[in-house]
């Protein structure tokens, strides 16, 4: 049990009528990962997190947290797990501290003694005695983290924790996530913001309409993606022939004394060596990189599956 994966799902599906919100997701999150679950709005991120937290039942497939299935084990499946979906919600008529006391009592396990500590971490100690009804969005978001930390989680599930925060709030939240990751907590972070995931996560799954379209490190995505190159060489015509003979080099064309082709990084490296061996000097080799953003947009179909498209690469 102790070496079970923090998260593993197999063929997970959740349907709402005709909509397939989660469509055959196989996800594995390893211990120590800061895993980005990245996709545009409506891609099915929140729905996946709801299934993991035992809030909704999958239509089919299974989800396990440290080897336990929320459907089978109920609240025990959340041992060592904490998090929230969408905005964290609290009793607005109770103070921040009272809310945490309530949740600590629901948790048992000495959680009450940790309240001061977690309030300190999220910098809410001064406001803890005020009613949550008067909190700003950012304060509620931080109280949500505090409530999660009460459980001393080994796995933290965060659903777009920076959404709706101002730039300073976003930076603070990201610093906090980094700090928690630094303490060895495994984190699954959903986001529609590429730069956020790039900034925080060591692994990423890119989601489109409920399915995973890429799973791995972001830099690998960049490296494996075929990108365009422009090449200037001492002898363009001979260089063209060398390129044409190389594996993994496509679309070679000579335009105005300049060669264009597409290739992945590995093929380009091989081509450069081949040119050198043919005693052709390279005067310029310019990658026309698809940026991560372009790749992301390409993978996700370039638009959100529901309305607000502007938010994809904000």
């Amino acid at each position: 049990m102790s070496d079970a994966l923090p998260i593993s799902t197999t063929a997970l599906v959740k349907r709402y009528g005709d909509i397939v919100a989660v469509d055959g997701v196989d996800l594995t999150v390893e211990r120590g990962d800061v895993f980005g679950y990245l996709g545009p709005n409506g891609a099915g991120k929140t729905t996946l997190l709801r299934i993991l937290l035992g809030l909704i039942r999958p239509t089919s497939g299974s989800a396990k947290l440290f080897g336990r299935d929320p459907l089978v084990d109920g609240a025990r499946a959340l041992d060592g797990v904490a998090g929230f979906v969408e905005g964290p919600r609290f009793y607005s008529y109770l103070s921040g501290r009272k809310n945490l006391e309530l949740l600590a009592d629901y948790d048992g396990d000495g959680a009450r003694s940790r309240i001061d500590g977690v309030l300190e971490i999220v910098e809410l100690r001064d406001r803890a005695k005020d009613r949550v009804g008067g909190y700003s969005h950012g304060m509620r978001q931080r109280l949500g983290i505090a409530a999660s930390l009460l459980r001393q989680p080994r796995l933290l599930l965060l659903d777009e924790p920076t959404t709706g925060l101002d730039p300073a709030g976003m930076r603070d939240m990201r610093d906090l996530v980094r700090r928690l990751a630094g303490e060895g907590i495994t984190i699954l972070l959903s986001s529609h913001l590429l730069n956020e995931v790039e900034d925080l996560c060591n692994r990423v799954a890119i989601i489109r309409k409920g399915s995973i379209v890429y799973d791995g490190p972001l830099q690998e995505l960049l490296a494996t993606a075929a990108t365009g190159y422009r090449l200037r060489a001492t002898d363009s015509e001979r260089a063209r022939l060398v390129l044409l003979s190389q594996q993994g080099i496509d679309g070679v064309a000579l335009e105005e004394g300049q060669l264009r082709f597409t290739a992945d990084e590995e093929a380009v490296a091989r081509a450069a060596i081949a040119l050198g061996q043919a005693r052709i000097g390279i005067t310029a080799l310019i990658p026309e990189t698809a940026s991560l953003e372009e790749l992301f947009l390409r993978l996700t179909g370039g638009e959100s599956s529901d309305h607000d498209r502007e938010a994809i690469v904000a």
């Binding site: 729905t47 109920g74 929230f84 609290f90 949740l103």
Partner: protein
């Protein structure tokens, strides 16, 4: 009650104590007997056609019994539903349900705590009305022996015991309405709908009881059980309506609660 349910129950009470609607209901339950006494002090007539109504000015002990009658149509059902219909739905609507469902308590424990809190509230409003009614009535008309429904007098102390028993029995049909309100609260996820629906249910039960041709089912209607305490007020006591109220109300409580429990255990908690 397990320690876990006790913890949940305690916090449900804390939440109720922090909400306005709790005091709105409790305040109403306490204000009605006061208003009733004041109105009777200002005029000479009386509620002669209701049980114990003729003796209203003989002893303050008669006051809560008479108010029980008037509040059984919709007063107490409404106050009960106001809290019981809200207890799950408000947390669905505010999103706090997902907050408490992602801690270390199982859904069954949370449900049990909520049901116990709703029934506690029902108990409190009925006894609060009884206490205020008896005290206000006694200030107005004295603390004297009570004339029973059989016409014989019982001592004031005996009258207090009869009042306590009657109030306790009266809580049962109200708990039936609370149970129905909890069911609607769980299923509709909408507080207003649950409150109105439960009130409709109570009124329907009353209506069925007065329509012609319903004599055969009348003893088994929820509304009828609001009169079961009359059995206590007979000398000697008539136990048959009391015993029938016990099992009939048990069914009206258990069936909605069992359904609500199953729904609560299985339902998706998403976006509501």
């Amino acid at each position: 009650m397990t320690a876990a349910v006790a913890k949940v129950y305690r916090w449900e009470i804390v939440k109720l104590l922090a909400q306005k609607r709790t005091y709105l209901g409790l305040g109403t339950a306490m204000a009605v007997p006061l208003i009733f006494v004041v109105v009777l002090l200002l005029q000479s007539g009386g509620p002669n056609d209701v049980p114990l109504g003729r003796y209203i000015r003989d002893t303050g002990l008669a006051t809560p019994f008479v108010v029980l009658f008037f509040m059984s149509i919709w007063g107490f059902p409404l106050i009960t539903a106001l809290v019981a219909g809200d207890i799950v739905a408000s947390e669905s609507q505010n999103g706090t349900l997902k907050t408490i469902l992602t801690r270390s308590r199982n859904r069954g424990e949370i449900f049990a705590g909520k049901v116990l809190a709703s029934i506690t509230y029902t108990l409190v409003i009925v006894f609060a009305m009884g206490l205020v009614g008896a005290v206000a009535g006694s200030i107005a008309w004295g603390f004297h022996p009570l004339t029973s429904l059989s016409g014989t007098q019982v001592s004031a102390a005996h009258g207090v015991a009869l009042l306590a028993g009657s109030l306790a029995l009266y809580v049962l049909p109200l708990a039936g309405i609370a149970a129905f309100a909890v069911l609607l609260s769980t299923v509709t996820r909408n507080s207003a709908a649950a409150v109105v629906g439960a009130l409709m249910w109570a009124l329907l039960m009353q209506l069925l009881g007065v329509l012609p041709g319903t004599e055969a089912i009348r003893p088994y209607l929820l509304g009828t059980q609001f009169e079961a305490w009359h059995g206590f007020l007979r000398i000697p006591a008539d136990w048959s309506p009391v015993i029938r109220a016990l099992w009939v109300c048990a069914l009206y409580i258990a069936l909605p609660l069992a359904s609500a429990y199953v729904v609560f255990l299985r339902r998706d908690v998403a976006g509501d």
